[in-house]
């Protein structure tokens, strides 16, 4: 008890040391915990299902065009019947519904699921019940399970929602369950019923398949079995199944596989930051121990046993660590908020993030161990020290052991080294990000907006109905003040995709090896609305109607790849659509990066929407510099055509582009936080060492000044000492960066891992911060009064 009270008194007696130590602990523990929380919550732990290692995703594959593709109903059903590896296999597919009955119609992004979907995952509704097998029978589809979001937004989280009837696309549907929010599922799920026609179709790929392996079955076994089944199906259905194989991927790998390098980089960064924090704490304790060797000697001289002295120091360190831990916890909460604020569009599942206790305990534990470790060694040393040598007046500047001096310098150099590496990492991601967002997507996102409309099957079953709606809607939307061009498409870049095989006239493709390209059905105004340039020929016009000759426009990439030495204009292609008619190519337009900024623009075929109508449409509106009240105007334009027709939110295309790089932005922000914390800690570290050195050298500095040293001489001496450490640290950091950042290569775009500008920038940033810290200590040195030379120590 006495020890604890004394510990507090000691800490209060040297507020500088205490504040810096607590700050270091708070930043170290806080930043590491916050970052770990985000990494863990967002990327590492995506599966909240029982026995997640048994969950797999199944894809169909026909390389090279379709390396990983959706599954067909026919194949899914055959897998289900023939395989023995799975305790259950479930399928889902996207389906939009319009919810009517209370005010404006609402468009719901839903899913059709096989009735065993939730049980395959091991998920259960929070309210109500799962689907019953009978509800998947043909002609049913009259029950639904709500997502938590929709339950909150549309139904006020009412518990009596179970058993209520709502209207989807005009059909009555009974709600039987509500999913918990941890499920992160779609707005609404309805059971799917496969018709005989569906089951016979092996060629339309549109379903996601999830399987749960039997307990003793490995992924490899399942792969082998499905490969055999796929081989049999290929013989049975040579047209639709030629060269199609099955991919079986563990679900976790399927979800986070491509972020593995990012994860590794982040973990390395967490480790590095924790190291810097601990090095700082260690250094501070070493400094403090050195400064108190006299106190220890006096204690020993008056009869304190070594264990007594060690215990005292231990208590002090633990008190310090606990206070630091408390501040670190506060900092972790604050840091988490900061991280989330930095990535408003980038963090999925942000809502469920809360400071990870395990991470907090881990960082705290490491800090505590460092405190004890680095606190004890000097304590033992001090307790063992030769009383005489300490109490005797030692010569100027030769006060303490050289090796402790060296250990401190080494720790600071290591901190600087690591800070450089983190800064280089952050710099590379930043440069790469800037490059990325400067890439031209092939369309002009500025001042353009999009809105999705999905027409219900029943009401718009006929092509003329859908085409009529699209035509009317483009006209109405074009009348909105401020809107300059309106276009419609069934497939939107950066949003969804639609790939179809096609035939070139006069060329025979081997069955199963037909070329494929992205396929867009667009209205005449689409290219202008999107800002996609016309390179050759003409765009579509109103006269390219359903009765007019079929025409097509191709992208530059399409022209390059499939008409390398000829003019595509006037040539004919046949896209495998129901009509199966030949279309004459009348124009060539610029390439669009369908799959994001950091992707190759694919070959693309465009055909007039009026000749090939679709029920799911995206309207693109180009405005003359923003349009206030656009959402409301769009809503009323659509409802003037069909008052029951819901629409999605009106979304700026800039947001679409921005969202497409959210992962990159998130990674960059994390690294910025890391490197910022590292910079801060390393600067504190070098300041601590320099300030301590100055305080130890006060006598020597006084003597030098008595002998006529100018303030400038003293300044240069101290700064020189610091500059030496900084130079070594930065040099080592640059070498370390060259070695380590190579592992980041896959996260970078348009900038090499050894980018000289980034390396120079990181070195300069750290040099300036560290140098400022040195200068601060050096300035204190110049304020030493030469008088101290006359006084004893």
């Amino acid at each position: 008890m006495n020890d604890i009270r004394f510990a507090f008194r000691q800490l209060a007696k040297s507020p500088g040391f205490t504040v810096v130590a607590l700050l270091t602990l708070a930043i170290g523990i806080g930043a590491c915990t916050a970052i770990f929380t985000v990494v863990n919550g967002v990327l590492l732990r995506p599966l909240d299902f029982p026995e997640p290692s048994r969950l797999v995703r199944l894809y169909e594959s026909r390389p090279p065009e379709f390396p990983q593709f959706s599954c067909s109903v026919g194949n899914f059903s055959d897998w289900q019947k023939q395989s023995t590896s799975f305790s259950s296999l479930a399928a889902t597919y996207y389906s939009a519904f319009s919810l009517t009955g209370s005010g404006d119609p609402v468009r719901l992004n839903g899913q059709r699921v096989t009735t065993n979907y939730l049980s395959t995952l091991g998920a259960r509704p929070a309210l109500g019940r799962d689907f019953l097998p009978a509800e998947g029978a043909e002609g049913r589809g009259d029950v639904a399970i709500l997502g938590e979001g929709l339950w909150s937004e549309q139904f006020g989280r009412r518990a009596d929602i179970i058993g209520q009837v709502i209207h989807l696309d005009g059909n009555p549907v009974t709600i039987v369950g509500v999913m918990p929010w941890e499920f992160h599922g779609p707005a609404i799920m309805l059971p799917t019923a496969f018709t005989a026609d569906n089951l016979a179709n092996h060629g339309s790929h549109f379903m996601q398949v999830t399987g749960r392996l039997k307990p003793a079955v490995s992924v490899a076994q399942a792969r082998a079995e499905l490969a055999a089944i796929a081989g049999r199906l290929e013989k049975l259905y040579p047209v639709s199944n030629l060269r199609w194989t099955v991919l079986v991927k563990p679900m976790l790998e399927d979800m986070v596989g491509n972020v593995r390098p990012q994860l590794l980089a982040l973990f390395a960064a967490v480790g590095f930051l924790l190291f810097i924090g601990c090095a700082n704490v260690a250094n501070l304790l070493l400094v403090r121990a050195a400064g108190r060797s006299r106190e220890m000697a006096v204690r020993a001289a008056v009869g304190a046993s070594r264990t007594r002295i060690v215990r005292q120091l231990l208590v002090e360190n633990i008190v310090l660590a606990i206070m630091g831990g408390i501040l670190g916890t506060v900092a972790a909460y604050w840091g988490l908020h900061l991280l989330l604020a930095l990535s408003p569009y980038g963090v999925p599942r942000a809502r469920e993030l809360s400071v990870d206790r395990a991470a907090l305990a881990f960082s705290f534990g490491v800090a505590l161990l460092t405190g004890i470790g680095f606190g004890l060694a000097p304590a033992f040393q001090a307790a063992r020290v030769d009383l005489n040598t300490v109490l005797k007046d030692a010569g100027r500047g030769s006060g303490e052991g050289r090796h402790r001096h060296r250990l401190r310098n080494t720790l600071v150099v290591a901190e600087l080294t690591i800070a450089v590496i983190l800064l280089v990492g952050a710099g590379l991601l930043m440069r790469s990000f800037i490059r990325l967002v400067r890439i031209n997507p092939g369309f002009n996102a500025e001042s353009a907006f999009m809105v999705n409309v999905t027409l219900p099957d029943k009401k718009y079953a006929k092509d003329e109905q859908a085409a009529g709606f699209a035509g009317q809607a483009t006209e109405k939307l074009a009348q909105i003040p401020g809107v300059t061009f309106v276009g419609a498409t069934q497939s939107m870049p950066f949003y969804d995709d639609y790939v179809l095989t096609f035939f070139k006239e006069g060329e025979k493709a081997e069955p199963g090896r037909e070329p494929s390209a992205n396929y867009y059905c667009v209205s005449p105004g689409y290219f202008k609305a999107m800002g996609i340039p016309l390179l050759k020929g003409r765009e579509f016009t109103a006269s390219d109607s359903s009765t007019a000759p079929r025409v097509a426009v191709v992208s530059a990439a399409m022209a390059r790849r499939f008409y390398p030495n000829e003019d595509p204009i006037g040539k004919r292609i046949n896209v495998t659509n129901p009509q199966g008619t030949w279309s004459e190519i009348v124009g060539v337009v610029g390439d669009v990066k369908q799959y994001g900024l950091n992707s190759e623009a694919p070959a693309a075929n465009y055909e007039p929407l009026q000749q090939h109508p679709f029920q799911f449409l995206t309207f693109v509106l180009r405005t003359s510099g923003g349009a206030p009240g656009l959402s409301a105007a769009v809503r009323s334009a659509i409802s003037s055509i069909d008052p029951d027709q819901p629409i999605d939110a009106v979304k700026p295309l800039t947001e679409l582009v921005r969202d497409s790089v959210s992962r990159e932005r998130f990674g960059m922000n994390l690294f910025l936080v890391f490197s910022g914390a590292a910079l801060l800690l390393a600067t504190i570290g070098i300041y601590g060492v320099m300030a301590y050195s100055v305080s130890q050298r006060t006598g020597e500095i006084g003597v030098r000044m008595a002998l006529g040293a100018q303030p400038r001489d003293v300044l240069l001496m101290i700064v020189g000492q610091g500059a030496f450490l900084i130079a070594i640290g930065i040099g080592a950091g640059l070498v370390g960066s060259l070695i380590l950042t190579r592992f980041m290569a896959s996260m970078l775009y348009g900038v090499g891992a050894a980018d000289p500008l980034t390396l120079a920038g990181a070195a300069l940033t750290l040099a300036l911060a560290a140098f400022a810290a040195c200068l601060l200590s050096a300035r204190r040195a110049t304020l030493v009064q030469p008088m101290v030379a006359l006084r004893g120590n």
Partner: protein, 233 residues
């Protein structure tokens, strides 16, 4: 009669710590001529070191005037004061104050380095100074390898090397045994004989006898001046 080298007129020094005023010096008049060897004696705490620090431009008086070489040194900037310390004053401290990380040679060279002398010049002067104190053979040693007496001789060499106008010594024998103390006193006497002006603080009247005259301080005031029975010119 020639002008004094150092001249204090009505010098007062008051320290303020925790709202307690300490009158370390009150109304000091003191003149020291070129070539003189003056001892300042008095009990511990009477203000000897304070007087020396003012004379050595390590500190400034609270009141009164100080003429060094007929130049008023009040109101000089810290840089100008450093320059004067470097050229005109040589310090010898009780605890030697050699810099532990530097060799004997480098310690002696230090004031010359601060003066900006070229290396060859410095070498000649350092060697000469070390020769004078009989420490030339230890030039490459570091202070911790020397005895106390040897360290103090190196400190004297350091004070001499810059050929200052006056040597200020604060209890130079205080940390030495009597044998080593005597050797250092002999060294100072021989320097005095070759023309150095020396001002030495001591509380040991035995050593004060080596000086031409002794100024006795008590409670911050000069209480007595005694002249040794030597030839005065």
């Amino acid at each position: 009669m020639s002008q004094p080298l150092l001249k204090l007129d009505n010098v007062t020094k008051v320290f303020l710590t925790d709202e307690v005023e300490t009158h370390a010096l009150s109304g000091i008049h003191l003149e020291i001529k070129k070539g003189e060897y003056v001892a300042i004696a008095g009990p511990s705490g009477c203000g000897k070191s304070t007087l020396l620090s003012i004379l050595g431009l390590l500190d400034t008086p609270t009141d009164g005037t100080y003429l060094l070489n007929e130049r008023l040194v009040q109101g000089l900037t810290p840089a100008e004061r450093a320059r004067i310390r470097n050229r005109e004053i040589g310090f010898i401290f009780q605890s030697f104050n050699l810099i532990g990380d530097l060799s004997v040679y480098e310690n002696v060279e230090l004031p010359l380095t601060y003066r900006g002398l070229p290396a060859a010049d410095r070498r000649a002067r350092v060697e000469e100074a070390l020769e004078k104190v009989g420490m030339a053979h230890r030039a490459k040693h570091v202070p911790s390898q020397l005895s106390g007496g040897q360290q103090q001789r190196v400190a004297v060499a350091r004070a001499l090397a810059g050929a200052p106008a006056v040597l200020l010594a604060d209890e130079p024998t205080g940390n030495l045994d009597s044998k080593n103390g005597d050797a250092v006193m002999e060294l100072l006497q021989s320097l005095h004989r070759t023309g150095s002006t020396i001002l030495m603080v001591t509380h040991d009247t035995r050593f004060a006898r080596h000086a031409d005259r002794t100024v006795h301080l008590f409670d911050g005031r000069v209480v007595e001046e005694s002249v040794e029975n030597k030839d005065m010119t």
